[in-house]
């Protein structure tokens, strides 16, 4: 898995700035150094997180398309809702602060869930403590997006711990 990350980094570097010929040595050396540096950062991050990121397993990548579609649909719907709020002649908000349980097993899954909520306009994660999220929502409709648990299930599914 760590090797996979290394290969991914090398591929990204090659795609972004890669020299496709082997004449000259300076640019490839720069590439090696920068890939090695970022890989070193990843290893430190993995240590700090107390374990590998399950996300890099092949199974998670297979589940990614469905997650991305669901993500795009939810974010688009939330964007339309908040746009209506912004453009309405009289701004009427009913802000609320709710505690939501993040039922993901890994910290990576919980962070993904918290970021999902924050990216969705109308809801934002104020804090994450243990397995509880502090979510601030603009009104009842925005709040319902989180409270109905569908985002939680999406992240559970890509984490691989859905029932």
């Amino acid at each position: 898995m760590r090797l996979g990350v290394l290969l991914l980094l090398a591929a990204v570097w090659l795609a972004l700035s890669g020299p496709y010929t082997l004449d000259g040595w300076l640019i490839p050396v720069f590439g090696l150094v920068s890939v090695a540096f970022v890989w070193r950062l990843y290893l430190a991050l993995e240590r700090a997180a107390g374990g590998g990121f399950e996300f890099f397993r092949a199974a998670a990548w297979l589940r990614l398309p469905r997650f991305l579609v669901s993500f795009a649909v939810k974010v688009a719907a939330a964007n339309v809702h908040v746009t209506k709020l912004i453009l309405s002649p009289r701004i009427e908000l009913h802000p609320r602060l709710r505690r939501v349980t993040a039922s993901q097993k890994t910290s990576f899954g919980q962070v993904l869930y918290a970021n999902f909520i924050t990216l969705t306009p109308g809801t934002i994660t104020l804090d994450l403590r243990d397995d509880e999220l502090l979510v601030y929502a603009l009104d009842a409709e925005s709040e319902a997006d989180v409270m109905d648990g569908s985002m939680d299930r999406d992240v559970l599914r890509i984490e691989g711990s859905a029932d």
């Binding site: 972004l16 908040v82 306009p121 934002i124 804090d127």
Partner: protein
């Protein structure tokens, strides 16, 4: 066919621009710090997303499209992290929220009390 692609790109760019402006308008019309961050996230997601999508259509299956995809991916990771850092800092320093409904504090209570 390239005519249809160009039209699709134009529509996506205009739509993206519309959401960017909406985000800016919301930033001014909303009355409180925490509410304004929601308006900004419209710009981050719908605005930037639609624009990048429109540009990808022009790139076709090429390195340009791959780079645009990476830009989108990095944006989707960095913008919630920044939004969260902003509101958590504000909340932690006790900037009051204007709330209609609030759940009871958790086991440890809130940083802002």
């Amino acid at each position: 066919m390239s005519g249809a692609l160009d039209i699709a790109t134009a529509v996506l760019l205009v739509a993206g621009g519309f959401f960017c402006i909406v985000g800016g308008v919301g930033l001014h019309r909303f009355s409180e710090f925490y509410q304004r961050t929601h308006a900004a996230s419209v710009t981050d997601t719908a605005g930037a997303g639609l624009m990048l999508l429109g540009l990808m259509l022009q790139g076709g299956l090429s390195m340009v499209t791959l780079k645009l995809l990476l830009v989108l991916a990095f944006l989707l990771f960095s913008s919630p992290a920044i939004a969260h850092a902003l509101v958590k800092a504000a909340h932690g320093h006790g900037l009051a929220l204007d709330l209609e409904i609030e759940d009871e504090p958790g086991r440890d209570g809130d940083a802002a009390g």
